[in-house]
Amino acid sequence: MKTAGSAAIRSPQPYSHSAVCLEALMDKFYKKWFLPLAIPAIILFVGVILIPFLVGVFYSFTGWRGAYFVGGGSNPFAALVGLDNYVKAFNSEKFINALVYTVKYTLIAVVWINIVGLTLSLLVTKISKGAGIFRTIFFMPNLLGGLALGFIWAFIFEVVFSQFIFNKDGIINLPFLTNMTQDNTKALFALLILVTWQMGGYLMLIYVNGLNSIPADLYEAAKIDGANTIQTFFHITIPMLMPAFTITFFLTLANSFKLLDQNIALTDGNFGTRMLATQILRTTRDTSPPDYGMAQAQAVIFFVLIAVVTMVQVYVTKKREVEA
C-alpha cells in the first residue's frame, strides 16, 4: 500500500489499522459508484445490441414484413410461423449461392492474406534501415474506405487490366485477369486482390509485433545447433508466432465473412457474386412486400456461422499457443 503512509499522517490510528480502513474505504467508494458509472454502458449495450439481437432472433420465427406481421397486424405473437423462414432461406437459391460464395472466398482469403501479411513482416524485419517507411506505406491502404477504393479498383479491373495490361494487345495476355468483375469466379479473385491490398499491411503490423517478441537467444541456440533458415522458420518462428496467428486468423475470418463494402463497390453482387452480408441487406429489396422475416432468418444463420467458426478457430489456435 503505497499511500498508507500519507493516510497515517492524517489519521491518528496505527499504520496497519489505517491501511485496512483505507482498503475498506476504497472498496466502499468503488461499490457506491459501480452502478452510476456502469449504467451508461449498460444502457447503450442493451438498447443497441442486446434487445435488437434478441428481437431479431424472435422475429425470424414470425411473418415479419417490416411495417406489420402477416396474420398478426402489429402483434408478432399472433404471427408465429415456426421454422418457415429458415426453410424458405435454405430453399432460396440466392441465399445458398451467397453462402457458398462467402465460404469459398473466406477459405481462400484467410490463407492468402495471411501469407501476404507474414511475408511482408518477414521482409520489413529483415532490413535495418527504412523499415519504418515501408511499414507506413504498406499499412496506408487499410485506412481508406472499402467503398472508395473499391470504386477505383473496379475501374482498374474493368479498364486498365482488361484493355491495357492483360488483354490480347496488352503487355501480357492473361485472359483470366480481364473482365474480372463480370464473372463469378474471376470476381472472387478480384475481391481477393482488393482486400489483400487493403488488409495485407494491417496483418503485417501484427506479425511484426509478434516477430519482435520472439527472444533472440532462441535463434542463437538454433544457430549453434546448426539449424538452417528453413528449419529455424518452421521450428521457432512459426510456433512462437502462435499468439499472433490467433489474432490474425480471427481478424481475417471475421472480416471475410462480413465483407460488404468491397463486394458492393466491385460488382454490387451481380453475376452471382453476392456475399452473405450483401444478400441479407438486399433480401428486403428482392421481395415484395419486403420479407423481413426471411431476411432475419438468414441473419441468424449468419450469426451462428460466424460465432461457431471463429470460436473454433480461437480455441484451436489458443491451444497451440500453450503447447508452443
Binding site: 458509472l37 417490416g66 441479407i280 441473419a299
Partner: protein, 288 residues
Amino acid sequence: MKAKAVHFGGTSHKLRTSDWIVYFVLLLITIYTLFPLVFLFINSFKGQADIVKTPLQIPALWDVAYIQNALSAINFFPSLGITALITIISVTLQVIVAALVAWMMVRNKTKLSVVLFLTFTAAILIPFQSLMYPLLNIFEKLHLKNIPGLIIMYGGFGLSMSVFLYHGFMKSVPRSIEEAALIDGANVFQIFFDVVMPLLKPTTVTVIILNGMWIWNDYLLPFLVIANEPVKTLTLQLYYAKLTSGQYGNPWELIFPAVLVTIIPIIIVFLLLQKYIVKGVAAGAVKE
C-alpha cells in the same frame, strides 16, 4: 527490431547481396501498393474520354475543374463537417462510456463485474447484419432514425472492443494513486478525468484510432439511418455519386476526383499521426 536484424539480415553493417534483393522486392511492393493511389490522383484531373482512353498517362493539362465539380456534386464541405462531427462525438462517447465501465468492473471484483465483462466481450461475435433490421425498427419508433440516433448506435457498437481493450489495460493500473486522490478530497469525476484517464492514454489512442477509422469510412450504418437526410457522410455521398452517375454511363470524371477529395483528409491525418496510428493499431490487435 535491431536484435531481429542480426538474425535475419546478417551480422555485418555492410549491405549484402541478400539485403539488396530484399530492398528490391520491397520497392516493387511499394510501387504496387501506391499504384492505385497514384492512378487515382492522375485521373482526377482528366475528362471522361481521357480517363477511359489513356488511364495510365499523366494528364496533359492539370485541370482542377473536375475537382471543383466533384466538390459541389458531393456537397463536400458540409459532408466533411458532418462526417467529422459524427466521428468525433461517437468516438468521445465510446471512450468515456467504455473507460468508465471498465474502470468500475476492474475495481469491483464481484460476480456482476465478471458477468458484465463476459457479456460485453461475447457480443464481439454478433455481426451487425444479424440485428440491423430490428435495430432500425426500434430506433424509428423512438424517432431516432437521424444523426443523434446514428451516434448512439456507434456508441453501442464500439463498446465491446473498447471495453475489452480498457479492461485489459486497467488491470495493470494500481489503485493506490486513486486512493491518494480520494484522500486529497477529489470527487469521483476528478479522479476519473485527472487520475485514471491520463494513465489509460495508450489504450485511448488505440480506441480512438480503431473506432475513428471505422466510423469515418463506414457505409452501411449511415446508408440505413440517414440516407434521407439532406446532409450525408462522405462515404454515403460517394455511394450516391456512383449510383446516379452509373445511369449515364459511369462518368469517371466525377468518381475519381470525388474519391480523391474524400480520402485526402484521412491521408493528411495519417501522415500527421502515423507514429501513433501504426503503434496503436498493432497494440489494439495484440490485446484482442
